[in-house]
């Protein structure tokens, strides 16, 4: 039986809404249905355009041309209507001039959410219109994008979220851009190449969430120092090479920090005193990278009292995980109010044959006396295998932690099948609960 065409009863606006849930290329297929449908797909308030596929049989130039014509046409046909969300993903070579033209068009149409994700050969310089867009709330840009001179009248009164991947700034354009964003709440900077002679200063009174990844493939494209002047910041995710200095660290409101830091050159070159001290008010700390434990251990004398720290995660590894275990006693000593301890990784060393290897962890922890003064209530073990050494560790934890109430054990893929029953028979105080979570890949 032929299907009844119920969709034609819906008003144009509603059909546009439906089409706005589809990538624009897919939605465009509806243009061939009937006269009414010819341009409906282009009137959608959300446009998602992907130009990614590589079709080896088609001449490159031709498909590039038809793509450019398509986008030009879509933007022209809908010229009066509002565009709320515009996202463009390009993996083929499209000249920056075209992309600029599209950006300028979209920026003047009430845009709220703009995303440009390109890997084109040529660097795209953002048009000036981007600095004075009154409506934009979320902006995501990358890669090989460059910010032109930030003009004097730069002002982005609605921008709350800024996400930049491999975006190049020179001089003080970054600081100028931040000053133009009076309500910015969330900032993400991934792999942006910075001027090596600079101090990267992130100064924003409204910022609440910051993700900064400063690894770089070439050490010289990293700034030598960082300043965090962000009094309202509640969440910090900071990865990469540690700077030489941290002139300003204003993190009074920080609640949660996730750190994955390592030395760039020699430890003597770094002075992270302000940074480490600036973290002293956090409640949740995620140190789940080995390098971070190593780095913090080497600055033992700088570790402040983490009075509010309630939950901490550290990582261990199969071999040579000494740093995390060496750091653990100090960390626990400095965290008098810690409630939850999460250990990601095996509790004991073993080599590829499952054999315990030297040096033993037990040497790092000596008599485990540090556990007796730790008031942790919840212990979480991620990636538990059930080796003999790990069982020994678990026994110590259960014995020595005076306030322990709950242990959550997440099995590793390599866990012995009997690990649940093995753990259940360990001697422990009656009120310690053990919960088991099977491996999930």
């Amino acid at each position: 039986a032929k299907k009844m065409d119920r969709i034609s009863d819906l008003p144009d606006e509603t059909v546009c809404q439906i089409l706005s849930f589809l990538p624009t290329k897919e939605a465009a297929l509806t243009s061939v249905f009937s006269k009414r449908w010819r341009n409906l797909f282009a009137m959608s308030p959300n446009l998602h355009i992907r130009f990614v596929e590589v079709d080896f049989w088609k001449p490159k130039a031709k498909s590039n041309m038809s793509f450019i014509d398509f986008v030009d046409r879509v933007l022209a046909v809908s010229s009066d209507s509002t565009i709320r969300r515009f996202s463009m993903i390009i993996r083929r070579s499209v000249e920056p001039a075209h992309i600029n033209r599209w950006m300028i068009n979209v920026l003047s149409r009430g845009i709220l959410d703009l995303g440009l994700d390109t890997l084109t050969k040529d660097v795209i310089t953002m048009p000036l219109e981007i600095f004075t867009c009154k409506t934009i709330v979320k902006l995501k840009l990358g890669s090989l994008v460059k910010f032109a001179m930030v003009p004097e009248n730069a002002y982005l009164p609605s921008l709350k979220t800024l996400f930049l991947v491999h975006v190049r700034f020179s001089g003080c354009e970054f600081e100028a851009l931040l000053s133009a964003c009076p309500v910015l709440e969330e900032l993400t900077l991934l792999g942006c190449p910075w001027d090596p002679k600079q101090c990267l200063t992130i100064s924003c009174t409204t910022l609440e969430r910051l993700t900064l990844s400063c690894k770089g493939t070439i050490a010289c494209s990293l700034p030598w120092s960082f300043s965090f002047d962000t009094p309202r910041l509640a969440y910090l995710n900071y990865r990469g090479y540690i700077g030489d200095e941290y002139p300003i660290v204003n993190l009074h409101s920080l609640v949660e920090a996730k750190l994955s830091l390592e030395f760039r050159g020699s430890p003597n070159e770094s002075n992270p005193m302000n940074l480490i001290n600036g973290l002293r008010n956090v409640e949740v700390l995620d140190l789940s990278s080995l390098e971070t434990s190593k780095l913090l251990f080497s600055f033992s004398e700088l570790i402040p009292l983490f009075e509010k720290l309630s939950r901490v995660s550290i990582a261990t590894e199969v071999q040579h995980a000494c740093w995390s275990w060496k750091f653990l006693p100090l960390l626990l000593k400095k965290s008098p109010n810690l409630k939850t301890l999460v250990i990601k990784g095996p509790l004991h060393f073993y080599d590829e044959y499952g054999e315990e290897s030297e040096p033993l962890i037990c040497e790092c922890l000596s008599e485990y006396s540090f556990l007796s003064s730790c008031h942790v209530k919840i212990l979480e073990i991620i990636d538990y295998c059930g080796t003999k050494g790990e069982m020994g560790q678990m026994k110590k934890f259960l014995e020595k932690l005076p306030c322990l109430e709950l242990v959550n054990i997440h099995a590793s893929a390599k866990a012995k099948l009997t690990f649940c029953t093995d753990l259940q028979v360990l001697p422990r105080a009656g009120n310690i609960q053990l919960k088991f979570f099977s491996f999930q890949n």
């Binding site: 009844m4 119920r6 439906i18 897919e26 088609k58």
Partner: protein
Amino acid sequence: MTKEMFTLKSSDGFLFVVDEAVVHQSVTLSPMVQDCAGREYPINNVTGKILNLVVEYCKNHVVVDGGDSSSSSSSGDALKKWDDEFITQMDLSTVYDLIMAANYLIIKGLFDLACQRVADEIAACKDHEEIRATLGIVSDYTAEEEAEVLKENEWAFD
């Protein structure tokens, strides 16, 4: 303290008794909370069959939407699962009716959910012929006009 109840009447005469939390999910119905307690409120362009589904959706969304913004991710997942099952089990014809009802009553979550369902149906088709067959649309293009459309959106049809 007893909850205030409101009676909604569908176009074909079915009555649905709901509480304030359900009514407030509809921007159109929300003002009636002031005036209509105890009286029947007619909803003239929604049948009983569809109004039943609307009420079911709203009842299920009361607990989460009315709660604080820090609802746990697991309850959010459970709600999403319920939404998926709710909308997937319907045939397209019912989904269209639901779209029109949610549009009139201005219930954004339900409107988006139903629109997404139709969009998913379109996305599952492998080409425009299949979409046309699924939606049952009859073309009013001449052959020349159709060729024109295929050319002007060439990139999409490749």
